[in-house]
Point group: C2
Chain length 188, copies 2
DNA sequence: GAATTCATGTAACTTGTTACATGATTTA
DNA sequence: TAAATCATGTAACAAGTTACATGAATTC
């Protein structure tokens, strides 16, 4: 559901092809939404079928035809009411594959688990550096239409969210490693 | 994929019916894995088809027949190799519906967003209290087979993970509210 | 000459969601 | 007498994943 609104939200700013959308998702939105090209094309078709988008074929020489999507009145209404629904409680119902594995880790090797958590910490630290770079890059943009400058604040919030999540992952992993190592010492 | 291993992991300790599994999921695992009954039954059928589980019908008087599932050798092998695969990097590729909405929030009403974030903080605080209760309940269990006492450490880690996530959500939401309120002040 | 870019997807599958169906027994 | 518990699911759909296909133009 979120992906469909994401597509609407981007097309709302500027009509685009599926290919353009794929690049936007693999650029600006990648840190919080992993989208497959095949799913983008499928969802665009659904959104058009349901009257939220319309398309226009643009012929090109030497290149494949473009299918430019633009938002309809119904699409924009639906987008705005989605944005304005600020009940985030469903976010707290999730599936955490990491916890699923940890829950059963008494069946496994605790040395391997410690190594995995160590690596997890390194990967989270590397991600934080990427977030900081993205954040700095956003700050360095000055010449931009005011519409985009207004959006920037929110884009930075999504980066901050990712950063907080990484910090939390690191703190949790450190605590867990400590518990596991203490247990090992006690057994010696 | 995680759900299937979760089912294997629970059945590994004690043969069970789909109904029993549903209760385990809605009890001990609910805080990190939301499972639908319909999916549990479907995945059990798949696991049996693939040779990881076998079942035995147990007749009852006055109640529906029970279908008890138990794990096979292949199932246990697969479970253990899953537990021992401690590469958690895929955890960092996720989809965050909250960020998706925030990303487009310049199209919406910032007062509504602040209210939504305030409520989000309250819900996270309430969850933390539940986690603390769960954690304390685990500590209060003393008379238990050593196998379960060994597992407890890991169960507590999943609770701690949920707690860390809530704390991180709260800190992020606070920061975001502050930014939004400052912006409003500047405009006045 | 090989790899990447541009631009479109389709097909098959897995995973997760929502709503419904059955029917006796036990508890409030 | 109404609701919850026990125990099984099915059907239809939405969302996400993986692998593949086309074919010209451009860049390395």
């Amino acid at each position: 559901m979120s992906l469909k609104f994401g597509l609407l939200g981007i097309i709302d700013d500027r009509p685009m092809t599926g290919y353009d959308l794929m690049k936007v998702f693999n650029g600006s939105l990648k840190h919080f939404w992993n989208a497959q090209t095949s799913q983008i094309y499928r969802d665009l078709a659904t959104l058009e079928r349901d009257g939220f988008l319309e398309s226009e074929i643009e012929a090109q020489n030497g290149k494949p035809d473009k299918k430019n999507y633009f938002i309809t009145e119904a699409g924009r209404e639906s987008l705005i009411s989605w944005v304005n629904d600020c009940d985030f409680s469903s976010v707290l119902t999730y599936r955490d594959p990491l916890c699923m594995k940890i829950f059963f880790s008494s069946k496994g090797d605790s040395y391997r688990l410690i190594a995995g958590l160590d690596d997890f910490i390194l990967k989270n630290r590397a991600l934080i550096i990427k977030y900081d770079e993205k954040d700095a890059a956003l700050d360095n943009i000055t010449k931009l239409p005011s519409k985009i400058l207004e959006s920037r604040k929110y884009w930075k919030m999504t980066i901050s969210k990712g950063r907080f999540d990484c910090m939390s992952n690191i703190e949790w992993a450190k605590e867990s490693i400590k518990i596991l190592k203490e247990e090992i010492k006690e057994k010696l």
